[in-house]
Each structure stands twice: as C-alpha cells, then as structure tokens.
Symmetry: C2
Subunit: 564 residues, 2 copies
C-alpha cells in the first residue's frame, strides 16, 4: 500500500510538473518517499497541492496494472526519464516489469494494490535533498516523504506521535531549558553541560553513587589518557582501532585518550596480591571516555564523541558470578524504576563465532547468567551469537513514554582481559586463579541517559530532578518582599526555588515558568501575604488553590519521595 | 660555616681515600655537599667513619688560610686533581684563590671560618650520584650530602624534621594506606585513585561543591578535548606550547586534551546574549586537565601530568570585581581553615613587563584586589611584576605542620580572554561591554591538595575525611556477633566502620588499625558485650576506657563537627 502511495504521489507530481524526472520511490517504515528532479525547489507549501492531486487520483480509482515488456519497449515508454533509463540499462533480465495506473507508467517489480481507490490514509510530511543513488558526485534530487496507514485514525495517531517526538526532541529541549550545548568551535559530539543540565547530571550521579555504595561498591577515579601499549595488550588497539583517537606523543611514547575505563581498574587491582577473601571487589567509576564516531551519525546527547559511563568492574571468583550478576540486575531494575522506566526488554547474548576462552567456560557462564535472570524472575529473549567476543552479556532496553527503545543497562562477562593482563587471586588452596571480570553500566552513559530522560518526560523532570523546583511569582511589586520571604524559608529547607522579580505581568511569568517545566508556581498577592499562604499552580496549569507553606511543603516532600 | 664543613669533609675523605679526586663542594640550604671520584662506591655505612674523621679535624682546630697564587703554582699544588685542574684552566684571572687547612688545599674563593674548631654541629645524611658539571657525558661522581647548624639543638631539630618529612612523604603514605597508585604501564604522572583515596577525594569534592553552591556558584562540566583552534584563539597554543600535549587528528581537524577549563566556560557563556542583570555568573568545575611536565620533575601527587583543578570562572562587571574577589578570598580562607591550615602567606602579583590590556586597567584592578584584601583584613606582600601577562593575581601559600609551604588558593583577573573571545554583556545603557573574568581555584588541584593534606596530617586524616573512621575489634571469636552488631548499628548512623574479623591477636589488630591511621578502635569482649559498651582506643594509642555506643557516638559527632 505504501509503495502504491509512492506511485500515486509520482503521478501527482508529474501532473503538476510535467518536466519532472523521476528517481526511485520505495516504501519505508510507516510510509514512502519518491525522489524527483524538478525545475524548482519545493517548499512545504507545495505539499498540500500534491496531496490534493493525489486525492483526485485516488477518487478516480485507477487500477494498478502490471506489464512485462522487453527492454526496447520499456526504453520507449520511459523515454523522457533519464534516471529510469539508467536503471533499465542495468537490469540483468531481458523482460522488464512495469506498473501502470491511468497515464502513469513506472519501472517496478510490484506488488501493488488493485487500484488507487484502495489507498488508505496518507500525508506528505517532509522534503529533503538526496543524491541520485546516494552518490555525492551525481545530481541532487528532491525527496518527498509521506506516511500512509490503513485508517485515518492510525494516520492521526502516527502524526500525533511524530509531533510529540518533535516536541520531546532532547536537542530542542536542551536549548529551550538551557541544559547543554555543543560547539562547532570545540568539536562536534563534545557536550558542554550548562548549570541546569549539570545540576540534573549531578543529582543523577549523587543518587547513583549512594545506591552503589549501599550495595558494596567502591568509587574510584582513573586518568583519561594512557600509553597505547596498554591498549595493545588488551586487544582494543587491534579490534576497536576505528573508534580510537589518534595517539599523542609524550617523551617518545604514544598515548591515547581512553575509550574505556577497564584497564585503569586492572592496573589498580594488580598493585598487590589479592586473596580469595577480598573478592568480590566492585569498583565503580563515572569515567568519561572518548570514542570516534563519524560526525554524520552524532545526535545531540544521544550519540556523542565523549561520554561519561556509569561504569563498574566486578572482580570475582567463578563461584561468585551468579550472585554478582543477580546483584547487578537488581540494581539495574531499581535504577530503571527510580527514573520512571517501567517497561523494558531483556536480551541474553550468547557465544559468537569468534570468541575468547573455551566453549565450555562460555556454556557455564551463559547458564550462570540465565540463573541470575531467573532468580530475579526477569523475562528475557536470547540473542543467539550476539555476545561480544570476550563473553556473554545481558542487555536491557528501556521503553520511553512514546514506546521507543533506548539502550539501557548492560552486564558483560569478560574472559579476555583477565587472561591478557594475568589478573588473578590466591585461592583457598594457596594457588593462583584467574578472576572473572564483569563490566557493567546501569545507566549506560550520563549523556544518553539524560537524552532519554528528557524525551521520556518531555523535559518535565520529576520534582527530585528538576533543576528549579519552584518559582515564587509576586502579583505586584508590593508583594516582592513576601515572595522573597517565602523563597528564603523554603530554600532554607532545601528547595531549589527562585523568585521571578521581573517587572512583567503575572500571567507571562506563569507561562514562562511552565515552559521551563518548573514543577510548582507559588503565586503571592495581598491575600497570600496576609494569610502567610501561597496560591499553587502546576506546570500542567492545574490550579491547586491556596496552601499554607507547611501544606505545600508536605505535598512537595511526598512528590520528592515518590520521585514524581 | 657550611662551606667550611664541605672542606673539612673533603679533607676527611682524602685522608680515608688518598686516591680520591675532588669535584666541587658548595654550601647549600641547611648544609653542604662535595663530589668525589672514588675507587669504590660508598654506602651509608661509610658515613660514620667520614664523620669521625671530620670530628678529628675539628678537634685539631686547624686555621683556614687563604692564599693567592698564580695559575702555575695552583696547578702544581693541585697536581693530582684533574677536575680542579680543569677548573683552573677555565679561570679568567691570572691569580688563583686557594684555601688551606692543615695539609688540605682547595681551589676556593671563600670566605671561611677562622679555623675548623669553629665548625658547628653537623651530620652526613645522604649519598647520591652526580655527573661532573651536571653533564651526562662526563664521569659520574659520588656526592655526599651533609647538614650543618650552629648548635647541636638546631641540628637535632632539623634531623627530626627530616625524619618527620620522610615519615610524612605522601608517596609512601599513599602506598601504605592504599590510597593511590601511578603506573609506568599507563604513564608517569597519571594518578589512579584507589577506593580509599578516591573516598577522601570525593569527600573533599562534595564538601567543596556544597560550599560553592551556598555561595552562589553553579557547577558545570565541559569535555576533556577541544579543537586546537580554540587554543590558538586564546593564545595558549603560542604561549604555553611546551605544556600542551601533541594534537590528535579527527576528520582532518586537530584536537588537544585540555590544559585548562576556561575556554569551555567561555563557549557556554556565549551561547546567548547576557544582560548586566545576570552578572556575576560563577561557574565552577572540577575539571581534569592535562599538562606536560618532564618525567624527571614528577613527584607523587604533588607534581603530575593530569590533575583535577577545583576551578571556577567568574564573569562579572568591572563594578563587581571587588565584591567577587573578596568573596573568593573569604571562601579560600574558609577552605584553608576547614582543612586545618591556619598559617598561610598571601602574595599580590602586579603588572609584568609584557602584559595584555592597558596600564590604566591594570592599575585599577590591582587597586581593586588590594581593597578586597583589605576588606578581609588579610596581610599580604607585593610580588612586583609577577602577575601573569593577562592580569594581576593573588596567590596564597599554605604552611603545613612542618612549616613547609604549599601552593594554595589563587585568584587571577583576566583581561586577555574576554578580549580574544569577545566576551560581553549588554549594560544598563543598552550597549555591549567587555566582561571581567576571574580564574580562581581554592584548593589548587585535588591531587596536590591531597598530597599536602597527607603530609600535613601524616596520613592521620581528621575524622570527617578518614576513609575508615572506626574498626571494631573482637577480643575472641565469640565476640564477633556483638562486634558485627555494633558495626551495623553505627554504620546505619552513617559511620564508615569495619569489623576486623580475622583470626589474629587483638594487639596486632589494634596495631594495624593504628598504622592505617583509623581514628577509633572499638575493642569488644565479654564485658562490653554484656554491658552493650565498647572499649575505646585512639590511633595515638590513647585508651579512653569504656563507653556506651551513645557516648562514643557523641564523641564522634563532635570530632566530625569540629573537623578534627
């Protein structure tokens, strides 16, 4: 159906621009596109006219008819279409499949609907430039994107979701809420956290640290650069070269900026003999790492070149692995819930074709991961052969408020590094044994996690994470003193509260606080000042009436507790 | 006197090793040295014999006699001494000054004591290798170091201070207390913070953040790499090239690892127009920066290649500078006192020969810094011409428990960067004005500050910073349950407490906890378990007798409050 919609659009465009040259027009997820070489640049204002023409074609209920002709006949039928002729020349078969609806003929393998009247609900949504055959040395065509669904209701829901996603775009929210910036002068993919964004990040980090310490983790710090030789030993220099930054030379030695934190932890582990009694060691680091990504794939906070992993490495004995993995999964689940993600999917990735360690050890530890998952009654799917070469892993993907998936917690067993770096402990038997190492992150990276939170909450962070939790808004200048008194009292009790003292109208101040997604607006005028109360309004514009400070404080505390 | 001691030592060495060839032997701070070419390597065991011989020479009370001879005579007198002959050949004067005591003659300008009997108290302390004339292509001589003072008491005090300093060496304490490590595999000067060291660092950081937020600072984060072009614009690429790491190339652009945090803050400042009403902005960052230092000068945590500055930049109007600088000085003083540094020296550095900005603006802002210092009644000295090229500055140097100076807080006004990056605000007059920028750090770097704390406290951190605050020591295995109960209760109340459950003797456990500088040892046996008490001992081995948990807790809390 979506492919048929593309043909209908092409017919409509040709009837408006008879000189149009057609590229290709496939179906894509949720819709379709078609590429055109046109005498002028299209603007969004052109789309309604094309849509109207498409509706006329639908009303005509023209049948889609397939024809098989020989090359010569095809070349004759598509004579004015150079891109089509180029495609015909490259076809291997003698016979060429064409589809025709009314006067419109296209080179096409099909299949299609019976007739244009069967087309569902559609809408043209976007225009973009696209090189012919994706080759930047070929002409730039204009691509029109459309979406199509069986019913008008499904189309409307999809358009609503698109609009929601655009409103929730974390790059836009990051700018509007003054949370972060990325600068071409410093380099793409490198995040600068502004005061409010940094505050959100710090609240997450502090919460994260507390929860880790409660669970027997120690926090460590390691440097951001190290000699290349370390990464040669680890194998990263060979396996992940494309993601590594080029070396810098110091006194004849090559150093690189670290792409991960594990090696520093291994060096610290090896500073002395470790006894089986000391294990497990759980070392966590909010470690900022740098990996190369093509500038074309960078995307706000979600895909960057420098990111802070909420990393930890667990050094344990083989008999401790199940308990440790279960602990990680429990922590991951706790974290997801704490941040409002109640839906997620769990994947267990098993041995790939190329792997380190023995098949038997893989089998054992995969079973161990399964037992840990079962212990927590976590439903999971198997991703066969999708483990990293160094060990099996469990990945969890979060579902946000729009049902979109985000990469979440990961837990990876590693047989490779303990062997390459000879990471051992002295067992109860007095002999050296190789430790098992677990790499894990429960948020992934602070950058991507904040992107996900922003889009999940559409910027309206729960009270505990809101950079500004309340704004006091005096109705007139004479209420400013009382406003400041309210703010001082609540600020002394730990609220992040501001007074909007500008000489602007109350309604504008309320509107702006709402746009800034501040959870509470405390409006104060004569009545409030006289009665020592505040008039309470929420960011969804709900008016909660008059409250004493104590009553507001209680409401605030309960939202804080509930992480609402 | 110290120089005379060097001559006496040379005479003593010659009388023990008649074949010794003499290098040079100057006086240095607190003492003297002399370089010798000897038939065998000296060991510390040789020093007492040389000292004994020196004492004999002192007892002989030989007069120091100056002679002036011509070159030929000097060459004859020092015929067996090739290094001396080399020096004579290079002398410009025809006449050569010699000093003689008894049979010993040395090439020397003097002056000297009247006789060897006037020599004060001395001691030989060290042997080291030293290339002749510091040239690694010339022979390696053996250097004997001695210290000398007017009185035996002064000598003893100095030796005590040396021994104290050795005991307090933060590199040694860092190893013994398992706080940090530096690895040749990763690179010299790059610090890996082990769990306990990282905990101390984190406590400092958290305290630092809280105190900054109280004072109206915002915490921000910026990336560790940026395009070289930024550092070209700032001037660092030209002025500080020797300290910068070599560039890494990304998609045809050169990036470097950041040597300072300022430029990221400037980029964030410039993301929008700033009004005079918004100022001052105080942006603080615990930013890890990397600067090249020769491996030869690296020293534990005190001199490193990567360090975390407790950095902040204040963007303000000229009329706000005094208030802002006073605020920084107040914070600096508060921080020094909080960490137990009650003695410090303050230096105001004024305009150097080469400078940015106008002499008038320099004059103005130097006066402003003086007024800020006066406001806080801080005594200071002027370091004329020692300002950095971009503005005047105030440096504070801390005195540690041994009276040694450590680089402490710094506050620097900057006229250069606001101009180079065109950092402005819209004034009340609606026009653009250049901001004044202040760089400041109140601890300096976390690395050096922790080195300083370690040496100041000889590793015995005050209770609030101690990584482990208390150890519960059961007298016998049957007291283990009660020990765990005590630990659980106190740990629930926020103490960092451990149980030493090893099958070792109580005295050994107490000794080890003391070596680990744990503030409190809670010994529990039958009596304590029966009465729900603990027997309390301090790390200085003071026995505080039996206490209820509540009584111990009160004592602990008051030490915590007092930051003792």
């Amino acid at each position: 159906m979506r492919h048929s919609a593309a043909h209908v659009m092409a017919q409509a465009v040709l009837s408006i621009f008879p000189e149009a040259k057609l590229g290709i027009g496939p179906a894509i997820e949720d819709g379709f596109y078609y590429d055109f070489d046109l005498p002028r640049s299209l603007t969004p204002d052109d789309l309604p006219a094309i849509e109207a023409k498409m509706k006329e074609i639908v009303a005509l209920d023209l049948p889609f008819e397939r024809e098989e002709v020989d090359r010569e006949e095809a070349r004759r039928l598509l004579a004015g279409q150079p891109y089509k002729l180029e495609l015909i020349d490259e076809l291997a078969d003698e016979k060429v499949s064409l589809y025709r609806q009314g006067p419109f003929v296209d080179l096409c393998r099909g299949p299609h609907l019976g007739s244009t009247g069967e087309l569902g609900a559609f809408k043209l949504v976007n225009i973009a430039g696209a090189y012919w055959r994706g080759d930047e040395h070929r002409p730039m065509l204009q691509r029109i994107y459309g979406v199509a669904f069986d019913t008008e209701a499904a189309l409307q829901e999809h358009l609503h979701r698109l609009a929601e996603a655009a409103k929730r775009d974390h790059r836009r929210l990051g700018r509007e809420l003054d949370l972060f910036s990325i600068h071409n002068e410093a380099g793409p993919g490198l995040v600068h956290w502004h005061p409010k964004g940094a505050l959100v990040r710090r609240l997450i980090e502090d919460f994260w640290k507390d929860e880790h310490i409660k669970r027997g983790y120690d926090i460590v710090y390691t440097p951001h650069i190290a000699k290349v030789d370390l990464w040669r030993t680890s194998g990263h220099w060979d396996f992940y070269r494309d993601y590594l930054y080029s070396p810098m030379e110091v006194e004849g030695q090559d150093y690189i900026i670290k792409p991960m934190n594990c090696l520093g932890h291994i060096l610290m582990y090896k500073t002395r003999l470790r006894s089986y009694r000391e294990l497990p060691l759980r070392w966590a680091e909010l470690g900022t790492v740098y990996r190369y990504e093509r500038s074309g794939v960078l995307h706000g906070l979600a895909r960057v070149r420098g990111f802070t992993q909420d990393d930890a490495h667990i050094f344990c004995r083989p008999d401790q692995l199940e308990e440790e993995v279960a602990g990680v999964l429990e922590l991951a689940r706790f974290m997801m819930q704490a941040f409002g993600f109640n839906e997620y999917e769990v994947f267990l990735s098993t041995r790939p074709e190329k792997y380190a360690g023995s098949a038997e050890v893989w089998e054992d530890s995969t079973r161990t991961l399964e037992r840990a998952l079962d212990r927590l009654h976590m439903a999971y799917s198997i991703d066969p052969g999708e483990g990293v070469f160094y060990g099996p892993k469990i990945d969890i993907s979060l579902k946000d408020a729009l049902g979109r998936s985000w990469q979440g917690p990961t837990t990876q067993v590693d047989f490779n590094l303990p062997q390459r770096f000879d990471v051992t402990y002295i067992g109860e038997d007095g002999k050296e044994h190789q430790v098992v190492m677990v790499h894990r992150a429960v948020l992934g990276s602070l950058e991507r996690f904040v992107a996900c939170l922003l889009e999940h909450y559409a910027g309206a962070f729960p009270v505990w994470l809101a950079p500004v939790q309340a704004v006091v808004i005096p109705i007139a200048d004479r209420h400013l003193d009382y406003a400041r008194q309210v703010a001082a009292e609540l600020s002394g009790q730990g609220l992040r509260i501001q007074v909007d003292a500008r000489a602007e109208r109350m309604n504008l101040k309320i509107r702006e606080a709402q746009l800034q997604k501040v959870p509470y607006m405390l409006v104060v005028g004569d009545n409030e000042a006289a009665a020592s109360t505040v008039s309470l309004r929420l960011r969804n514009n709900q008016n909660l009436g008059t409250h004493s400070l104590a009553s507001f404080k209680a409401m605030f505390e309960s939202a804080l507790e509930a992480r609402e």
